[in-house]
Structures are given as structure tokens and as C-alpha cells.
């Protein structure tokens, strides 16, 4: 069969199908999870709604960082740049142009995406540490600019019109949709040829280039997608905070939160950032809301433990353990001899 296929068109090779099948299964699971969250919002009280809104925004933030850092290997320290730009774009279109929250949020997403594309011009020439430092520098520069720009009230900051902020239930749904959108984007990316090529760029960009992958193009696309998703999360944060200042919205802490969540949950996986966001925000930040210093202490401690003992993150660890315990009961299929030892 292979013979006839190759003789027909030896120059064209189609991607394998199972990948797409796994992606569709994952999207199905995502829809079910979304419905469950929606039901939880219906039965839960005000506490669940406000906690859920912020948690969803963090899931989106972590997932957006993961798409860029975990999938394509571009370690960004510039999450704040996109959170801040999007929040400002949203607040300004709502106050100055009188837009409602939905077009405002879309405007924030578009502006964050445009900023990504603009920053990509110089940043795509940088790799590794240099890329990370470049994104950090861009964030600091934007912070300094907004701090001194009279159009946006300098360091006084801006607010979204309070009467235009949706109610608690609507906020919960908005947050949920943003999180589903981010996770959905990650699934589509991971389980597609596009995502496989992203991972290849992360592993060895030179080898990927030799296999015909337009590395700069792929890096640009993933930067813009990540920037837009961070912009959406930034919109949710802006609506929850109502008023904010440049030092808060362009802060380094956005990057740190996203990075810690992804590393704890499992970088480069789809589920990992969700697990990380829940573990850090729900497990630590809200539990210790009255002891912010202690909360940071535990966050740092957890990070240390993960990096030292479970370097892949919590989710891959859980998957491995589950698989191992299943194998334990079944017949031993794999033997140590099956793969030759490295010499």
C-alpha cells in the first residue's frame, strides 16, 4: 500500500490523523468542564462567583504564558506589558468613546495583539535569555511611559465607568468564557501540526528550520496569540479592579504569577497551567488572603519543592503516577531491556 501511495506523489506527505482526533476529544472534555463550571456558578453563592472570576482570569493568563513559553520555548518576562496595555485600551475606549464592556474588551485584546506584533519586530531577533530580557525591558519602558503620559492621567491611573461594569454573575460567565477560549486555543495549538512544529522549534530551532519550518513566522504567530489572550485576561482583571494605576497594571507580578502557576502545574502541557492556577490561587492565595506575606512564602516554598523534586510540574507527575499504578496491576508489557541502554 505504501508503495502505491509513494509512487503517486512522493513529494507530499500528509500529517498523521490521530493527532486531530485527540484534539477533538480534548475540546469535547473542555466543553463538558465549561458546562460544569457554569452549573457551579448557578448553585454557588457570591463567594464562588468572585473567586471563580479571578481564578478563570488567572487560568487564561497562565495558559497564554504557557502557549508562548511552554510550547514555543520563548520565555517572556513581559506579561505585564499586555495586561496593562489591554486594561488601558479597555478603560479609555469605555470612558472616552462610551463603549460598553464587550467592545472595550475586544479593543483591549486587539491592541495587546498589535503590541505583540510590534514588539516581535525587534524581539524575534533575540533568543533565550536575550528574548526574556527584551520582554522585561519593553514592560518597564511601557510602565515608565504610562506613568508620565498626561493623556492617561500619569501615575494617577484610570478607571472603567463603574455603571458599565457587569454584575457578579455576568463577570463569572465572562471570566469562564475567557478561560475556555484560552484553554481551547492551547488545545487547538497542541493537537495540530502547527503545535507539533512549535514544540519542534522549542526543542531545536535549527533542525526545525532545516525541515522547512518558517521559524520566525511561527514565533510571530504564537507571540500575537499569546499577547491577545493575555489582553483578554487583562480585560477581566480591569473590570474586577475598576480603577488601576500604571505601576499595578504593568507590574512584574503578573509575569511572576503566570510563570509560577505554569511551572508548578506543568510547563508545555495543556492541563498544567490550569492545575497550577488552581493550586496557587485557590490553594494558597485565597486560603491565606489575610496573611499576604505568608502566602508569598508558601508560594515560593511550593515552587522550590516542585523545581527540586518534580521538575516537570504537578500535572505530568500525576499522569506518570497514574500510568505507573495502572501498569502495576496489568501485565508488565514494557521491560527495561526493550530499549537499549545509552552507551
Amino acid at each position: 500500500m505504501a508503495t502505491t501511495a509513494l509512487s503517486r506523489a512522493p513529494g507530499s506527505v500528509a500529517p498523521a490523523l490521530p493527532l486531530r482526533r485527540r484534539g477533538i476529544a480534548a475540546l469535547g472534555a473542555l466543553v463538558l468542564a465549561g458546562a460544569a463550571c457554569l452549573a457551579l456558578g448557578e448553585v454557588g453563592g457570591a463567594g464562588v462567583l468572585s473567586l471563580g472570576t479571578t481564578l478563570f482570569a488567572y487560568v487564561a493568563l497562565a495558559q497564554a504564558w504557557n502557549i508562548l513559553g511552554g510550547f514555543s520555548g520563548q520565555m517572556s518576562l513581559g506579561v505585564g506589558a499586555f495586561v496593562g496595555t489591554s486594561a488601558y485600551a479597555m478603560a479609555l475606549t469605555m470612558t472616552r468613546l462610551g463603549w460598553s464592556w464587550l467592545p472595550g474588551m475586544v479593543a483591549g485584546m486587539v491592541v495587546a495583539g498589535a503590541l505583540s506584533a510590534l514588539l516581535a519586530l525587534p524581539l524575534l531577533r533575540l533568543k533565550g535569555d536575550y528574548f526574556a530580557v527584551g520582554t522585561l525591558a519593553a514592560t518597564l519602558a511601557l510602565d515608565a511611559w504610562f506613568d508620565n503620559w498626561s493623556f492617561v492621567n500619569k501615575s494617577m491611573g484610570v478607571s472603567v465607568p463603574i455603571q458599565a461594569v457587569p454584575g457578579q454573575t455576568e463577570m463569572y460567565v465572562i471570566g469562564l468564557v475567557v478561560a475556555l477560549f484560552a484553554v481551547g486555543s492551547a488545545i487547538v495549538m497542541r493537537w495540530s501540526t502547527f503545535g507539533v512544529r512549535l514544540l519542534a522549534i522549542r526543542e531545536d530551532d535549527l533542525a526545525a528550520r532545516l525541515l522547512g519550518v518558517n521559524v520566525s513566522g511561527y514565533r510571530l504567530v504564537v507571540m500575537v496569540v499569546s499577547g491577545m489572550l493575555i489582553g483578554l485576561a487583562g480585560g477581566v482583571f480591569a473590570l474586577s479592579l475598576v480603577s488601576f494605576v500604571p505601576d499595578g497594571m504593568f507590574a512584574m507580578s503578573w509575569t511572576i504569577e503566570a510563570l509560577v502557576m505554569v511551572v508548578i502545574g506543568g510547563m508545555g502541557t495543556v492541563i498544567g497551567p490550569i492545575v497550577g492556577a488552581v493550586a496557587v490561587y485557590y490553594g494558597i492565595t485565597t486560603e491565606l488572603a489575610n496573611f499576604p506575606t505568608l502566602s508569598l512564602f508558601f508560594e515560593g516554598g511550593l515552587l522550590l519543592v516542585i523545581v527540586r523534586f518534580v521538575p516537570g510540574g504537578l500535572w505530568p507527575f500525576v499522569v506518570r503516577s497514574a500510568r505507573r499504578s495502572l501498569e502495576w496491576r496489568g501485565p508488565a508489557i514494557r521491560s527495561a531491556r526493550a530499549t537499549p541502554p545509552p552507551s
Partner: protein
């Protein structure tokens, strides 16, 4: 003639049309170094061209120029009617040129199928769905069908080479640039790789093959080009080139004409019986491994003072692991290591280095951004005084005179042979009593390997014991006092080197009965079937 795991030769590739690849007056300079000097070549559609020459001759640079990784300083490269020099590597690839790397560069975290998927082309060239070849087909053709879901990081060397070829095929390349795809393969593995490349060639794809393994050149290509110092010095059929006086001088070496047994200049006649020399290192019943893998399985090994010991075996037999256990990079799970009767099993690597165990690792591991002399000085003992370091540096430069004039050059700019000298020189700086050389001859031209083994005479004469981990069996056996053969982590032979010169016996020890008797000796050379790179 095939071992069971090789499978039938692939008849699956049907003819493809491709265009001639033409290089005209191609020159490439790196700073003051002239890597390619006014080269003109023409590769006809469906032709397999071999390129040989000493390390540093500019062979890899030439492939990288064609592949788009470098831009020529002068000259043009055209494929059919398209000029491809100066284009980005990914664009060159889409024009139908695929480069397979000397050191396989898999995407380790991806599965084998995903690795091939990265290269899959369906999104670029629209083909009707019925006419498409799937990733599975390519995997099948490259005999990777059963490993499709395995992580690339779990593959052995032969499968890595197959994967490298599968990926290039999946890009739809009609011109394949193969940079030493057979390096490091032995015996049946090498046969399998040659069969795969041959079957790909039969499909009408053009190839440029850069290779030190003579079997590959002799069994696949129809025309050979010889490079030296970036210049084309000879051209012709493999047989004609092999007979060329100049080629013998710069590349194949005079020694290739002699019998392997006569290389034994290194072995002093007096120390033939070494049982009476006192033990320098004793490995007692050592087991080691990685995760669930058992790499060394109750290994016993002994090296006397000033003795030369070879450790041979197929890929994955545990040779490098043994070297790492001795130097302390990999811990022994059980058993003992004795250094001059003192137990060192738990001693960290740096302390073992201070005791006198120097390790010149596989792949050289030089510091590419440091100069040659900085690399060497870094190898000196920390406690050594400045005067003593300088003195030692002089001694090492005496052993490797070629390094003296390169002392101020950045090590990353050296050729493979020079880097190997540097790696050994750096290990010698620590004034060791035992020098471990892992894959000394891997990827090096025969003349360079000759030169390296010649310098080992000086090393040995200064009283340093040598532990040689080698694929190049005839070379290392000729200089050894004793030899060990490993198979899957177990010692299958320990004793005098002479019996292993009998090829049938060697293969039997290599594969310990698994493929024994099914191996057919080297069809072309006949002098030494199992070892690579004569």
C-alpha cells in the same frame, strides 16, 4: 544476508523527477579562514555524489552552503532554474533540498511520529487527498513503524539515524544532503543504514554524501569528489579515487595499505605479560543504569599501571557508561571501584580527577568560546603552581605540535581532528595516571586517526595508563595490552587482544550469539568488516 531486525530492502520508492544541482565557483570565508575555495560541482538528477577529505577540508561547510545555513562569499548555487544561494534554510528546503545532520538532531520530547510530522508537507503543496503519503508510510519505509509512539529521546543510534532520514524524506526533498549519516554505526547496524540510503537513492532522489565510513562511499556512490583545504583535489569513481596517490597522502593514509596487525608500534614487547604489573584501577562487580535501564550488569575490569586497555562493543553496549562510572559522572548502583587499592566508589568526580583519573569525553566537550590555550590551562590541576602549569602546557604542546600554532584561536573554530587533540591535551594537563578516551576516532579522517594513535605512543611512554572506548576495533586492538568486549552491559570477553582480531570471533562476542553467524563480512574492503572508518 540480513539480520532479522533489518527487514527486506525497500522497494517502495518509485522514481521521482528532480533537477540538476549546480555549484559554480563557490567560495566561503570565515574571517581569514578559507573553508571552500572556488568549487564547481554538478550533481545530475538521480546521481549519488560522495565527498571525502580530511577533517577541516570544508565538506560540512559545503553541505551547509547548499542547505542555506551559510551564504557563499562568492559563486552561485542553482537547482534547476532556481538560484538558491542566499535563501533561508526553510525556503531552500521547500525547493526540495533536505539536509540530514551528522549528529542526529531529534526533537527529544516529541514522539517519533511527531518528529516526522514537523516535516510533513501537505500544507505547502496541495495534493489530492488520495495521492498523499502519510507520516505512517514514511515511518514504515524507514523501518520506524513500531516505534511511532516512542519518544525520540528513547531511540538507539540506528533508529536516530533512521529518524533523521525519515524527517528529511517527509519534507519531500528530491536532493538529499547526508552529512556522515553512518558515523558511529557498527556491523549489522551499518549494513541496515546503507540499505536504507540505497533504497532511497533508487527512488531517483539525488544525494550528496559526506562520509568517513568507506563502506558507505564504496557501496552507494558512483562518483567521488575529494576536498582538501577547501579545494577540489581529485574526482572519479570510488575505486579510482582510492588508488590516487594524492588522496592516499591527504586522506586515506599510507597505513590503510598495510595489514592492521602491523600498527602495533605502541605496544612495547616487554610488557606482553601484564599480570604482574600492580593494579591501578579495579572495577569490581559494578552495576549502573539510568532509571529502569540497566546499562552495566555486574562488570569486572582491571587496569594495571601504565597499561593500555580497550573496551569494545556495539552501540548501547554500555561502553560510555563504564567510562563515566570510572570517572564518576554516573554513580555505581552496586559494586566497588578501587584506585591503587583505595576505594573510590563514593568519591565525587572532581576528587577522582585530582587522584589522577582524566576523562576525554565522547563528543570532545571542549569550551568553544575559549581559546585553545585557555582550554588547556583549564585542564590543569587547581593546586598546580603557575610555573608547573606552564611546564605542563609545554609538554602537551610537545605531544600535539599542531595545537601550538592554534593556541590563540577560539576552540570552536577548530576542525574535528584538532578539537579531538585539544580534548585529549586538556585531559593530559591534569597530569593523570589514567586517561580515558571515549570514541577517539569518531567522525575523523583516517589520516587524523593515525596521527592521534601515534601521539598515544608519547602518552604511554610517559607512564600514563589508557582506557580506550572504541568503535574502531582494529586500531585500538593493535595498541592494547588487553581488551574487553561488552554486550548489553555484560562483559562477554576479557583478555588478550589478539583473538579479537579474528572477525567472526569478534562479532560473536559483540552480539553474544544474538546475530552470530548471520553476519556477512564486509563485501568490499574485506580487511576489517566490523569496525567503522578504516
Amino acid at each position: 544476508m540480513h539480520a532479522p531486525w533489518i527487514g527486506e530492502p525497500l522497494a517502495a520508492f518509485e522514481a521521482v523527477e528532480s533537477s540538476p544541482l549546480v555549484l559554480e565557483h563557490v567560495t566561503k570565508r570565515f574571517g581569514g579562514v578559507l573553508a571552500n575555495d572556488d568549487l564547481s560541482l554538478r550533481v545530475e538528477p538521480g546521481e549519488a555524489l560522495g565527498i571525502i577529505g580530511p577533517n577541516g577540508a570544508g565538506k560540512s561547510t559545503l553541505l551547509r552552503l547548499i542547505g542555506g545555513l551559510h551564504v557563499p562569499s562568492a559563486g552561485t548555487i542553482t537547482l534547476g532554474a532556481t538560484r538558491i544561494d542566499g535563501l533561508r534554510p526553510d525556503v531552500v528546503n521547500r525547493h526540495g533540498i533536505g539536509l540530514a545532520n551528522q549528529i542526529p538532531k531529534p526533537f527529544p520530547a516529541l514522539s517519533v511520529a511527531e518528529n516526522v510530522q514537523v516535516a510533513a508537507t501537505s500544507h505547502r503543496r496541495k495534493a489530492s487527498p488520495r495521492a498523499r503519503v502519510t507520516v505512517d508510510d514514511v515511518l514504515e519505509l524507514c523501518q520506524l513503524g513500531t516505534r511511532a509512539d516512542a519518544r525520540a529521546s528513547s531511540l538507539g543510534l540506528l533508529d536516530l539515524k533512521r529518524l533523521e532520514l525519515a524527517r528529511v524524506l517527509a519534507t519531500g526533498a528530491r536532493v538529499l544532503l547526508l552529512d556522515e549519516v553512518a558515523a558511529g554505526l557498527v556491523g549489522d547496524e551499518l549494513t541496515a543504514a546503507i540499505q536504507l540510503v540505497r533504497s532511497i537513492h533508487r527512488s531517483g532522489r539525488s544525494m550528496i554524501i559526506v562520509e568517513h565510513v568507506q563502506r558507505v562511499i564504496q557501496e552507494i556512490v558512483s562518483r567521488v569528489v575529494v576536498l582538501d583545504w577547501g579545494k577540489l583535489i581529485a574526482e572519479g569513481t570510488p575505486a579510482a579515487v582510492a588508488a590516487d596517490e594524492r588522496v592516499r597522502d591527504v586522506y586515506l593514509g599510507r597505513r590503510a595499505q598495510r595489514e592492521a596487525g602491523s600498527v602495533s608500534s605502541l605496544r612495547p614487547e616487554t610488557t606482553a605479560g601484564t599480570a604482574n604489573s600492580s593494579a591501578l584501577l579495579e572495577v569490581e562487580n559494578v552495576c549502573a543504569g539510568y532509571g529502569s535501564l540497566v546499562a552495566l550488569d555486574h562488570v569486572e575490569l582491571r587496569i594495571g599501571e601504565g597499561e593500555v586497555v580497550s573496551v569494545l562493543g556495539a552501540n548501547g553496549a554500555g561502553k560510555s557508561t563504564l567510562a563515566k562510572v570510572v570517572s564518576g559522572h554516573v554513580p555505581a548502583r552496586s559494586g566497588r571501584l578501587l584506585w591503587r587499592t583505595r576505594e573510590v566508589t563514593e568519591l565525587p568526580t572532581y576528587k577522582r580527577a585530582r587522584l589522577g583519573i582524566a576523562h576525554s569525553p565522547e563528543g570532545r566537550r571542549i569550551f568553544p568560546d575559549h581559546t585553545v590555550s585557555e582550554n588547556l590551562l583549564l585542564g590543569a590541576a587547581h593546586s598546580a603552581s603557575r610555573a608547573r602549569r606552564t611546564e605542563r602546557l609545554e609538554w602537551v604542546l610537545g605531544v600535539f605540535p599542531a595545537l601550538r600554532k592554534l593556541a590563540a584561536r577560539r576552540a570552536g573554530l577548530l576542525s574535528g581532528g584538532e578539537q579531538q587533540m585539544l580534548a585529549i591535551g586538556r585531559a593530559l594537563m591534569a597530569e593523570p595516571s589514567l586517561l580515558i578516551c571515549d570514541e577517539l576516532s569518531l567522525g575523523l579522517a583516517p589520516t587524523i586517526v593515525d596521527a592521534l594513535y601515534d601521539t598515544l605512543v608519547d602518552v604511554r611512554a610517559s607512564g600514563i595508563a589508557l582506557l580506550l572506548i572504541e568503535q574502531n576495533t582494529s586500531r585500538s586492538l593493535a595498541v592494547s595490552d588487553r581488551a574487553y568486549v561488552l554486550h548489553r552491559g555484560r562483559v562477554t570477553y576479557a583478555g588478550a587482544p589478539e583473538p579479537l582480531l579474528d572477525e567472526t570471533f569478534l562479532v560473536q562476542r559483540y552480539f553474544h550469539g544474538e546475530f552470530g553467524g548471520r553476519h556477512e563480512p564486509d563485501e568490499t574492503g574485506g580487511r576489517s568488516g566490523v569496525p567503522t572508518g578504516k
